[in-house]
């Protein structure tokens, strides 16, 4: 469990990015943190592995206070994939990039090779194994960064804007991978602006604005609540907007995805 309790954080330049934030992440939770740029989302996730330490309040990961344990030991539990892969990649080949952390954590070469091959296949990167990460497209580099974190199988997988630069097919694949991680009992926490992707994934949503958590709940509840979304500069998913507009006809409710919309429109058509 990751527990964030009454955390306030101020950057050295005096900017307070988090104000009294509390949040609990249980094992197996699937959470999307949403809010406009500057809301404090990235600052918050940097507290999960101790990269940032709270000025006030405290953060514990599996009961370990992040102020008392090293980032290295927390990283084994909490793997963070940052928004810009170029801040994360440095190796000469994709293969050595993905193997780096595994070697660092002391896995034997046989395990390293097996895991690297598996993860490259899973993320559609096998054909780039011997290429330089910097010769790849932005979207591909992002998947390399994800692969290098998934390689050591952290219990909490944290992703900052994972769908940027990904086409629809890659997003669908990413959604399967997240489901797979969840089915293995891992927790997945993502920061995302991609409201349609979030509507397809249906995680629990935590909404942030101005450094505070201002609301949250199941995706179907949050993404159909116009007042709450407005406060965070989030645009309602297309299907939810449409069903809301049709609301007067007695359909809609908490529909955010195409599949459920088809079902309720079918009922309406047949019944009406």
């Amino acid at each position: 469990m990751i527990e964030v309790k009454h955390v306030t954080y101020t950057y050295p330049n005096g900017y307070t990015a988090l104000r009294n934030v509390s949040l609990t992440i249980q094992e197996g939770d699937f959470i999307a943190i949403m809010g406009e740029n500057g809301a404090g989302k990235t600052t918050l996730i940097k507290h999960f592995n101790g990269l940032l330490k709270p000025a006030k309040g405290h953060v514990t990961v599996d009961s370990k206070d992040t102020r008392t344990v090293s980032v290295a030991s927390l990283s084994k539990l909490v793997g963070i994939v940052f928004q810009n892969p170029d801040h994360q990649l440095f190796s000469e080949t994709v293969r050595s990039e993905v193997a780096f952390a595994l070697r660092n954590f002391g896995f034997d070469e046989e395990t390293v090779e097996r895991r690297v091959n598996r993860i490259l296949g899973m993320l559609d990167l096998s054909e780039y194994a011997e290429k330089s990460p910097f010769a790849l497209s932005g979207g591909e580099r992002k998947r390399v960064a994800l692969a290098s974190v998934l390689s050591w199988e952290p219990k909490y997988v944290v992703l900052d804007e994972p769908t940027i630069g990904q086409d629809y097919r890659q997003k669908e694949r990413l959604r399967m991978i997240l489901q797979q991680l969840l089915s293995q009992g891992k927790s997945v926490i993502m920061v995302s602006h991609d409201v349609e992707f979030v509507a397809d994934c249906k995680p629990n949503i935590v909404l942030m604005a101005g450094g505070r958590v201002i609301g949250g709940g199941a995706a179907e509840e949050v993404l159909t609540n116009p007042g709450l979304l407005e406060k965070c500069s989030i645009i309602m998913p297309q299907v939810a907007q449409l069903m809301r507009m049709l609301g007067e006809s007695g359909v809609g409710g908490r529909v955010i995805d195409v599949y459920s919309a088809v079902e309720s429109l079918k009922t309406l058509w047949r019944g009406g």
């Binding site: 086409d167 890659q170 989030i234 006809s249």
Partner: protein
């Protein structure tokens, strides 16, 4: 004159065995708003690089077929010459901005062309007005938000007064509100200045209502081209394309045997058609 004309355009990067784009035929009219989309690696970026001469003058390889932009043969004109006709805005504005103030950033292009100081001044002020940047003229671009940076990048292209603007996924790093704002600014440039817009975009839900035409690429060739409503109604032919959810909804309603009319690309259009169907 056509804004862009390509005939059997094929390009193979140096050291690569297979062409990245193959036999592309394309004709874009002046003033058109085009969305260019398709799965990663489909050749979108390669095609864009052909439009301002980065291919073949910077990226080397084998260029076959013909490509002309505003009537200029790309092969025989320098990138500097082409830059006065085609402006390119990248996905990540951080990679494009380098000056210490917004004003300096905007003046860089015209100064580089050797324009008189007065003309440079005039263009900088005009571009700042167009994108509403006067309030941040003295700020360093690297301190601005992603949305503002992207506006600065576009303004710095405008100072070159190009006829065509090519934007490579300009909204990727923006939150939805900023993305919508940027897209409406781009749409205004298209309408007010009759500028030809070629927008490479995955977020079709936000962009489609502005576009005259969607061009879908797949494996280096043009897989579909037409008005958004028509292209999205043939969803099954499109691979790796993020067709707007309302378009998918209508395609699925039809598969479920519900006789809904129309091919909406926006929520308002979908609402209109559904109300007709439901007899409201």
């Amino acid at each position: 004159m056509k804004a862009v004309e390509a005939k059997r355009l094929t390009f193979t990067y140096e050291g690569s065995e297979n062409p990245s784009i193959m036999d592309v035929n394309l004709s874009i009219d002046e003033g058109e708003f085009i969305i260019l989309t398709g799965p990663s690696g489909c050749g979108k970026t390669t095609l864009c690089r052909c439009l301002n001469g980065l291919i073949p003058h910077f990226y080397h390889g084998r260029l076959e077929g013909e490509i002309s932009v505003m009537g200029l043969d790309v092969k025989s004109h320098s990138t500097q010459e082409l830059a006065q006709h085609v402006g390119l805005v990248f996905q990540n504005p951080e990679n494009q901005l380098f000056s210490l103030t917004v004003e300096r950033e905007l003046a860089f292009g015209p100064e580089n062309l050797g324009l008189p100081r007065r003309e440079t001044r005039r263009r900088v002020e005009w571009a700042m007005r167009k994108l509403n940047l006067q309030g941040i003229r003295d700020r360093p671009p690297y301190e601005l938000s992603g949305g503002q940076q992207q506006k600065v990048a576009i303004a710095s292209i405008l100072t070159m007064q190009p006829k065509i603007i090519v934007l490579d996924e300009p909204t990727s790093f923006l939150d939805p509100k900023s993305a919508v704002e940027l897209l409406s600014i781009i749409s205004n440039l298209n309408k007010e200045l009759d500028m030809t817009v070629i927008l490479v975009e995955h977020r079709l839900d936000l962009a489609s209502s502005y576009a005259d035409r969607v061009i879908v690429m797949d494996e280096g060739t043009v897989a579909a081209s037409g008005p958004p409503s028509q292209v999205y109604s043939e969803e099954s032919r499109l691979r790796g394309v993020g067709v707007p959810k309302v378009s998918i909804l209508f395609n699925q309603l039809r598969s479920a045997g519900i006789p809904v009319k129309g091919n909406p690309v926006s929520v308002d259009e979908a609402y209109h058609y559904l109300r007709l169907m439901l007899g409201k």
